[in-house]
Assembly symmetry: C2
Homo-oligomer: 331 residues x 2
Amino acid sequence: MLDVARAAGVSRATVSRVFTAPSSVAEETRTKVMDAVAQLNYVLNSAARSLRSGRSNTIALLVGDIAQPFHSQLAKAVAHAAEGRGYSVLLCDLDHSITRLERLLESLPLQGVDGVILATGDDIDTDAVRAAIREAEERDTKVLLGTPQLAGIATLVMTTDYESVAYQATKHLLDQERWPVALLGGGASSVLSPLLKQGYLRACSEAGRSEADAILAVTEYSTDAARAATQGLLSGPVRPEGIVASSVSVALGAMSALADAGLGTPGQIGLVACEEVLLAEQLRPRLTTVGTKLDLQGAAMADALIDAIQGNSAESRDWVPQLNLRESSAR
Amino acid sequence: MLDVARAAGVSRATVSRVFTAPSSVAEETRTKVMDAVAQLNYVLNSAARSLRSGRSNTIALLVGDIAQPFHSQLAKAVAHAAEGRGYSVLLCDLDHSITRLERLLESLPLQGVDGVILATGDDIDTDAVRAAIREAEERDTKVLLGTPQLAGIATLVMTTDYESVAYQATKHLLDQERWPVALLGGGASSVLSPLLKQGYLRACSEAGRSEADAILAVTEYSTDAARAATQGLLSGPVRPEGIVASSVSVALGAMSALADAGLGTPGQIGLVACEEVLLAEQLRPRLTTVGTKLDLQGAAMADALIDAIQGNSAESRDWVPQLNLRESSAR
DNA sequence: CTGTTAGCGCTTTCAC
DNA sequence: GTGAAAGCGCTAACAG
């Protein structure tokens, strides 16, 4: 830095200012410095910068499972938005482990990340997590929650309205005169389950169907479990004409079971998944979904978090999902 | 740190040594320090540490497209292995842009990452990339290449033998007495294409099929393009009895076209994909693949890179893929 | 608008 | 086996 300063005939402080507060430096001086920087191929040392300023220009992205399309698409959007604003993204895969989450939430702020995005559908409401989030915020590490849980506790929340997701999915099938319609998924590990159930039941009752006739096929969020559950449904006393799958994995299980039962062709049993991912377009039949645009939502998450970090006002937001009509629910 | 030192009745230097070279500190002193650390809830400041030591305990993972299952599964494995060794992972999505790659390769080493894993199948052989890798190595930032390209240039290379992938996939179909067998995919943007083609042709010629009878259905690596290409194949003069799809996306396109043509049921046209991902198990028909175990390969990548960073001997390796027999190629 | 100054918290010789 | 001392490269008051 001293070399640059000398080459430009200024002090190191001025060189620093050119990077941190360009507007506070005279136009002319700035160009001189920039020239010297270019000439000497100078780059700021980020470690020194972090040490001195207390900011690392790094955010951590914590996801339930990066191998899931939903999370990897979200990660992509977050990474691009962050890069655009000069931030690096630390990838932390929780692998559905709450212990790991607690550990990360405790260590990351001390590690020096400026912010954390927490995106998972898993149940994470423990004392340790609450305490860690509170501590993080006290240490001036901003936390953005991408889950309906713990909403009050973090400065920023950016969730999807999952009640509406299931409502729209169910209503769509009911509007096609399908009945019964089953809700598939909703294992206890996910905090989305009760929300999806609410939306499902609301659509049912609005359509004049009693709760007693509703079919809640509770199953874990794995494809295998969902396939088995669907098989049970198909061979049960009342075969559903529509299925609302709580995730894409679950929908894949349902599709398998339908295909095995010779019901794979669109038009017979309607299927809607409660997540919008690229894969939906690549399957056959193409999968109807209800969900938000992940690229927009991910970018908004990064932007909001970085705004908060930089002291700009940032707004929490509840995202309204949309129906993406495709073949799997064609009439 | 001073607090800890005082509480333990030692100097700051000793506290530091407890973290950096525990074996150089007397057993007794070490426990005293550890106790003080626990008591005071002390954590090393990573920025200061990086500044002073010149190491950041951070590696960057550059992937062609994190939204692709192949890359997100790899990322998961890398993240876990790195975490286990005390390293953080910076996620960089190239989004298939070589400009972005060049920029990252130039900036990351200066940013202070200790190592870089570059995993993409795209063609990245430009002067700028070669220069950037060389410079990175000169700056003591280790580079691990997860691509068959530029092999000589980086200290570490960890590739999959894609010639063998296509060879095995093709041979598997030929062994089932299927003919003709088409190779689907292989657009010019991917450096894997020529390797896959080689393996495919080798299997054909070993089975006594002449190159003239081979079917190379060149298409981009997108599902839509692959579907169209498969449709062309099915309505062409010689309908193939087997298809080797160069990626899962391509295989999805082929599956769509087969389903549309009423050939979706296993047993009619055999399909094998040249990547092993979790999704293969979730589809119906389940997709036969040839590929390596991504969790092992990703972990090995992280381990090798970190070994190299830490000055331990690290070995490059060419991974031998395996056939994962599933329904899509059932007889 | 620019320079001076005083560290940020840690590691690492070098003595002892 | 441990301590003293000297910075790593940068930023942020504070003057001017």
